[in-house]
Structure formats: C-alpha cells, structure tokens
Symmetry: C2
Subunit: 455 residues, 2 copies
C-alpha cells in the first residue's frame, strides 16, 4: 500500500504526523521541569552542568537516538562568590547587583570610590582621565523589542557589559558597573559575560538593577559625590571538564550529510536556566524523539548537539567546529533555538542567495501555528563557529518581547515557559529539521569571503 | 470686583485654579524624589523615619501651613537582620525571601525541616497534626485586580501572612512560610506585617518568591520530601519614639470643623517607600500647599495628617483618634491616599446614606481627568480609627493594576511613580478637600452601630 502513495502525499502525511505528535505531548515541558527543578542552574564547571550532561545523554539513549555520546571539552570555571554593593554617601542604599561572569574580585576589604556615570563608550572616551580612581557606571537603558525603531535593544548595550571594564580601566577607573541589560523594572540585576583586554588592568565589574543606576544618575546629576562600596569575591578556577552531548537519527540515503539541531545546556548560575537555554535543549531533544517514534527516517542525518559553555566562553562550539572540521562541508544546515520561551514565529536564516525562498516553502506547513515566517539574518551563538565553513545558519525566530525581562536573572525559572509555545517550537524544529534532511537539494551555502567579495 | 461674582461662579473659578495649579507643577514629584532618594525607606523605629518626620514638618512650615506640629507616639521597633533560606533536599536551591515584620528569629544556627504545603487556612486545619515538626508553606496565588471575578486579590490571601504563623504553630509547626502576596513573576519576595496570637508558640515566618513556592509545590506534589533550611535574625527592640506630622489651613468660618487629608510617612525597610506611601504624603502636602498659594481659604479647616507606623502597628492612627477624641464629632470627613501611584479614578466612600450622591456632585470637575468616579466603600487604614466616631471615610480610588507587583518589595522605588498621575492625584485631593471644607452642608456620617441596627 505504501508504495502506491505519491511522494508528495507521503510527505504531507509525514508532516501532519510530526505536527500532531509535537502538539499532543508535553514531554518537552516535563523534561524541562526535571532539568530546572531537579538539576537547577548549570554554569560551566559546576557539578550541576555535569549532572545535566549525564542526564541528557541518558534521555537521548532512552529515546532511541543513535550514536549518542559526549564530546569532551575543557571549559572556563568561574565561581560567583559573595557580592555586596552599597551607596554609602550621600545616602545609604544597598545595590541589587550581580558580579559579571569572568570578573576578578575586589580587594578583600572591598573597594570604595566616587562614581562617574557614562552613557556609553563614546561618552566614557570624552570623560577621559576624569574617571581615574573612580568607579564608572555605564547607564544605558534598553527597551523591549528595541523600542520604537528597534535601535535600543540588547545588542545596543551589550558592549558596555562585555568591554566596559577594560575601557574604563584603560582610563584609570578602579571598578566598573553596568546598568543591567534588562527590560523590566523589578529591581532585578542581570548577569552576563565580560572579557578583559590584554595589557589593561583587570578591574572588578558587576551589573546593578536599573532602579539603582537611575538613583545614582539622579544623585550625580544633582551634583552629589556618590560614593559606592563594593565587595565581590568571585574565583576563576582552572578550566574544568565538560562536554557537548550529541545524538543522531542516521539518514537513510546520505547519512554523511548532516542537519544540526542546536541549543546550549549550560546556563548562568542564577535562576534555573529555563528560558536560557533549557527550553531550547528539551525542544531539540523532543524534535528528534518524535521523528524516531514516528519512524520517519529522512534522507540525511539529523544530529542534535547540546552545546556546553555558550554563556561564558563558547568552548563547546569551538571544539565542535575543530573536532568535526572534516565533515563541515557536508553539514547542510544548522538550526539553533536560543531565544527564550516565547511563541515561535518562524525562522531567520543566514545562507547563500535563494535560501530564504527555499526555507519559506519548507516552512509553509507551520503557518497555521503562526510559526511559518522567514526573515533574512539568523542563527545562534553555538552554530556560529560553523559559518566560516559555509554551513547555512538558521535560528528559530521567537517572540522575544519579555525575553530580556528575565534573561540572566534569578527569575529565569520554569514558570516563564508556556507549555503550548514550547510544543509549537518543537513542531517547528522537527518539521524544518525533517524537511531539510529529506529535501532533494540542499540550501545554498554561505559564500566564502573570497566568493562573496564580488557581491 | 470679587464681590460682584456670584458664589457659583467664584467656586468655578477656584476649582479651575486648583486644577490648573496641580497640573502645572511637579513639586510633589520632586519632593518624592527627595524623600525616597535622600532619606530612603522609613520603617518604624528607624533613623530614616525620624529624618522624614523632621523633613516633612520643615516642608509644611515652608509651605506656609498653619499649626504645623508633630504629635509624638511610641511605635514598634522591629529590625530585619540577616535572612537566608534554602531548599537543601532533594535539590539545592536558594530561596528569595523576606522575613515578615514582627517575626521572631530562628535559633542561632537556623531551623531545618520538611515542608508541608497548605493552600489556605482551611486546608491547614485539614492537615492537622501532620504538620507537627514541619515548616508550613502557605501557597495561594493572587491575581492582578483580583482576577476575573475579583475574588483572588490581595485581601483573599492577606490572612495567610498575618495569621498563618500562629495557626501553623498551634498545630506544632516549627516555622511558617507564605507565598509572597504579589502579582508579578520576577523572583521578588514581598514583606508585610504578621501578628502572633497570645498563648501560641511564636515561630519564625517569612515570605518567599512565587517561583520558589511553585517549585516547592511541584516537588512535594511529585512525592519528594522537601527539606528547607532557614536562618532569620530579626530583632524586636523596645518601642521607639515617633510622631504623626500635622499641618493645617484654618477654616475662615468654622475652623473647628475639620477635613482630614491623610497618608502614612512610614514604609517597609525594603525599596524606598515610593508607592507605599511616600507618594500619598507628597500629594497630601502638595494639595494643601496649592490651596495656600492660591489663597483659597475654605469655610472649614483642612488638616494634613502624615501618619506614622501604618505598616506594622497603626500606632499613629490609634494615637490620633485618642488625642483628638474630643474633636472627632467635628471631623466632617477624612480622605486617605494609600493605594500606590496608579492613575486616580475617583473616590470610594464609606459614610451615611446619600453621601455618594453628594460626593459625586463634588467630584464632577475631576471627570475630565478621569478622576471623577465615585464608588461605595472606601477609606484607608490610618483613618479607619476615626470610623467609630462616624467620620465619613473616603479613599482616593486609583488604578491598582500593578500596585501589588511592587508593594512591600525592594522594587518600591521612585521610577514606579508617574509624575502625571501624581499631579492628577494632587488635583483630586485638593479639589475634593476644598469642596468638602467649603460646602454649606456636611456629608452624612457613618451611623453608629445602634442607629444602624435597624437598617
């Protein structure tokens, strides 16, 4: 009987089964509850991350995936320690703060100095030597969805967090604070990674709640000398052992050609890493499990990669690209889900000319779920290391209206994840993963720089 | 010229001047910035509250108010101390918590026990002796504006916070936790007052963030023995000296008849007491200042009373009622603003029959500001001690949609106050205060219980 069905009809049937299976089961959500409630936050180097890796490997084996394994990689091991900050003059006011990942500690008895407020790096440059001996506060507000013209989103201020400390230290500052990169007003500090530039003194750095940044700005604007005291005791340990977790559905015709479904299993150490990015990992796992359960074995291999150390190093992504260098030419696409738990809207894609049109056709069955739109530009931090080899980069495009309310905070917890939106994301990943692995032709690859130069 | 204006026209002119003056000046907001930024939180017994009392008295004198004075009263003096809570089994998870005001401390090395979740006091009663030796967690969610039918608001769960500890202790519990009485999900604990019942062991009590309550419930529902460790070190000191702050505009014809405008100057010790109730106090101060500046001296006296110790004792309100017992019969109305910083919608009133109709007519000039609605039932905690003497109770009715997102938390800060909504609240208080003080007749009083018995 099966032989009598025309290929298009068979594909339609497979797609309907994928959508139906994704929407009728809450296994992804139940797995996320386990990952966040029973294991918890998963910072690189932590025991929790190791437990999560063991757990994910077991789960994928239990799902019947193939070639399930861990691929070991050394990762940074930074530990938060205590963190106390206070305005001590002209009034006393405790700061809601989180040390930035990678920061050095203050002196044992802390640091106390006057604060200078900088709007951004350009403003800091204009302040110049006047910040010597001071604490610099970078105070730039970001807005949901980037504000009216999209220019005031997370990306518009991220450099203040990652590079602010070194830029301030170069001018003689003794510590660096950044207004949290967040879009809500619940006195909630947002942590994140920072990096030191070589050859510049390493000064301690923390993010403070928006309310506290605004208070300091009001006081300094009123001409007050605002003295802040900080005691931060983070420790950078030697690199720790970690691993990417990999599992596959081997392709039936061209198993050497690979579609990667990606997420990251590590998280920050506050909250429980539910929206960043536990939700992405359970969705990826579930997408492969559904295809396996439905016995839909596409032409090519679909490979789930649960990356380690996305948050503070990208060591997992870099290791993957090195380890699999020989087969990157046959990676036909990589899809990442790492934009929170909002409703899936479609996909963003970075690839060669014509890729959007091809992907739009493949995503058509997702339109009724509101998840079938395609936009130019997309990917994810973990799969970005595959871009130099030309691997088409696809990111699940989600509603991120409230993502930066919770991202990197104590409030990144399970309750922020809507089970329905998660099920629809699973449907989107499973369907596009299947279509890309089954398609007769592959997506046009990212042109190499030499090829692209003529454009 | 003035003598030629008919009374109604003169009143219209006065009203227009009041509205205009309230809306064109941001002095109330600037005062609130001082109170919250420079003085900060103002818990009873704290140095900050004393500073705020001195400041408010100075401000009212500077405004040219009459008979400005403090009326001393002893208040409870409870101090928070350290507070640490953690789920230690079956997983380790720090609790975001705030000790409840009035709670005793745990033993020096803390308390650790299994948690039993109770939906409410009735559920606790059914659990009975099974809570002996355990920590009881009262986990009841409240919803913005009380949810679809209004039944799930703050009031529906407040008893769990105020009485939960004694009810649990009566059954042998060793500590009591309550899901924060809040309506947002930013891992933010909400403090508040609790009371011990005489003759029942006093057990420590704290509020935990909604997320943490939900986690504990999920774990216990899954059959896990959830062990929580708590170390709380609050101290109850001897009562401290404090005061209500009073200032007046003396009436031109019947100065012995009084309209009270009320708020409370104390706050919790977290956040800076901006919406609860710094905003009410600067609005009351500004309402009188505007009338003074406009030289509008109504028939009766308008008295601003900035109460102390609303949050954890009501000692200021009780003292006022005792101290002024002889003149309560000539208190013709009391108006309180203590519902946050949301837009003013009108007033709620508790008084004798016909009072709503009379107040609705007086509030007509506020309709264009969206602040002219009148509803039955209203008042405020501080003026409630005047109700037994029949004083009509009026509360500024405000939009409280987000009030319980921030109330009693670290996030009760200046940025939650919209300067425009505050200016409109000032307009509403000044206008209604003026109308009540100027009216030829007074509002029907609350019937005494004997009189009311026949209704």
């Amino acid at each position: 009987m099966t032989l009598a069905i025309a290929p298009a009809a068979a594909r339609d049937d497979a797609e309907a089964r994928i959508l139906g299976a994704a929407l009728r089961d809450d296994r992804a959500h139940r797995r996320l509850a386990w990952l966040t409630d029973r294991i918890g936050p998963r910072l690189s180097g932590s025991e929790n991350l190791t437990r999560a890796i063991v757990w994910a490997e077991e789960q994928m084996r239990g799902d019947g995936l193939e070639r399930v394994r861990t691929e070991p990689v050394a990762v940074p091991h930074w530990e938060r320690g205590r963190e106390i900050g206070e305005i001590v003059s002209p009034t006393r006011h405790p700061l809601a703060l989180l040390t930035l990942g990678g920061s050095v500690a203050t002196a044992e008895n802390g640091v106390q100095a006057s604060v200078v407020v900088a709007d951004d790096l350009e403003h800091l440059a204009r302040l110049g030597e006047s910040v010597r001996g001071k604490i610099v506060l970078f105070d730039k507000e970001i807005l949901r969805n980037g504000g009216p013209d999209g220019s005031r989103g997370y990306g518009s201020a991220a450099a203040l967090r990652t590079r602010g400390a070194s830029e301030a230290a170069r001018l003689g500052a003794v510590a660096s604070l950044v207004r949290s990169l967040g879009t809500a007003d619940y006195r909630l500090p947002h942590t994140g990674a920072m990096r030191y530039e070589d050859g510049v003194p390493r000064i301690p750095s923390a993010a403070i709640a928006a309310e506290d940044a605004e208070l300091i700005r009001r006081l300094t604007t009123a001409g007050q000398d605002v003295q802040v005291s900080l005691t931060l005791t983070p420790i950078t340990h030697p690199d720790a052992e970690s691993a990417n977790v990999v599992g596959e559905l081997r392709g039936r015709e061209r198993p050497e050609e690979i579609v990667v479904l990606a997420c990251h299993l590590d998280s920050w150490d506050v909250g429980t890493g539910a929206i960043d990015d536990g939700v992405g990992c359970v969705a990826v796992m579930e997408a492969l499990r559904i295809l396996r359960e439905l016995e839909l074995r596409p032409r090519r291999t679909i490979r789930a990669v649960l990356f380690t150390n996305e948050e503070n190093g990208l060591a997992g992504a870099e290791d993957y690209a090195r380890r699999h260098a020989d087969e990157l030419a046959s990676h036909v696409a990589a899809i990442e889900m790492d934009s929170g738990a909002g409703a899936p809207l479609g996909f963003g894609i970075t690839a060669g000319e014509g890729a959007e049109v091809a992907l739009r056709e493949m995503a058509a069955p997702l339109r009724a779920l509101g998840a079938g739109e395609i936009r130019k530009g997309g990917g994810g931090a973990d799969i970005s290391t595959l871009a130099p080899a030309g691997v088409p980069q696809i990111g699940l495009w989600q509603d991120t209206t409230t993502y930066f309310d919770y991202h990197h905070t104590h409030a990144d917890t399970l309750d922020k994840v809507d089970a329905g939106a998660l099920a629809r994301s699973v449907a989107a990943l499973a369907l596009i993963g299947y279509r890309l692995a089954e398609a007769e032709t592959t997506l046009p690859r990212i042109p190499s720089k030499a090829e692209g130069a003529g454009n």
